[in-house]
Symmetry: C2
Subunit: 194 residues, 2 copies
Amino acid sequence: MSVRAEMKQASREKILDAAGKQMRVEGLSGAGVASVMSEAGLTHGAFYSHFKNKDDMLCQALNHALKDNRSRWLGQPKKESWAQRLSRLAKRYLTGAHRGDLADSCALASLCTEAGKGSDRFKAYYEQELIETLDQLCGGSFAQADADKQQEALAFMSMMIGSIALSRAVVSEQLSDQLLQAGTDLAGRLADQD
Amino acid sequence: MSVRAEMKQASREKILDAAGKQMRVEGLSGAGVASVMSEAGLTHGAFYSHFKNKDDMLCQALNHALKDNRSRWLGQPKKESWAQRLSRLAKRYLTGAHRGDLADSCALASLCTEAGKGSDRFKAYYEQELIETLDQLCGGSFAQADADKQQEALAFMSMMIGSIALSRAVVSEQLSDQLLQAGTDLAGRLADQD
DNA sequence: TTTCTTGCATGATGGTTGTCATGTGAAATG
DNA sequence: CATTTCACATGACAACCATCATGCAAGAAA
């Protein structure tokens, strides 16, 4: 790759990093073109040589954010039962650190209601990222897992995302901690039940 | 109350109705002052004789939206076990109709991630509404329920909100239905376990 | 070296945002 | 009937928004 193309690629990465951070912290409408470009160390004029429009940037940024981020929550596949797996992942996901670090948090959680109000294109990207996460959660392919496992995986994701979203929507630190704890506990019980 | 005050009260109600609808459909930033006032049949100039500022309106609108809305999901208290209650409420809450009717949906669900990014005042209002819902779910007082019941109530709320939020964030109707089904099923199993 | 290409900056576009000052007509008050 | 009050409308404000036209300087190609 030429020097020229490398620099453009580096710029693109900086823009997507900034956009990914801003949209998780401030929401989709908070990640403005000028503000994102400024945080990336560029001016707003360069924007349209990288992306078709703002929505295009948001879609790419969602994909970019989850690329590195997913493995932080799913980790390396281990030899463990399905039940142990759910219990372990809940403990890793529903922490005070994850709750507080919105800028680097799981984008599926920090954007779950905003995706529902976004463009169809953005929703399609969101769905793709969700399915990729479900695939890795199921240890390969969500679509080919049996029906029971699919149901449990979906309910597990819903609860993880709901728990951490609620824990951020609340001011009382005690209630917030209790929400994380309740999610972790239920994941453990869900696992034991099988 | 004088004729004058009655008219002002009626205007206030219209504004809060419009704001509640717009913020659930378009998000907090989508419920603009001019746009809300226009839908309420007034001009933007009258706004500041009703509310201190936009954030003030959003807080009042959240409270207003949940005032009538909560009973739609919780219904009248019935003679039933705690387990039956959770299972019944999940069936009522996680429906395709609720998913589609964003304008009249449960505001705790449609705004859960936006609340986390909102002002401290808005978060305080959100927490208050969440606790009021938990109180009614527990049949009186959440704070005075025993620890196990509190945990289950919190996990139940997280899963309900997570399930319907995810079902809206996705384009595939099949996956969306499956998300609602998974939430309903897990609520039933959670109930049976006790 | 000369020409071409292009990533980025400067600057301007029309539209929208939240907020407020002023005016008006009608209800409330005396 | 005269006066005061006030809910609402008109209009203006600066700040912001996404988008694009133009210009330049530096790498690529000849």
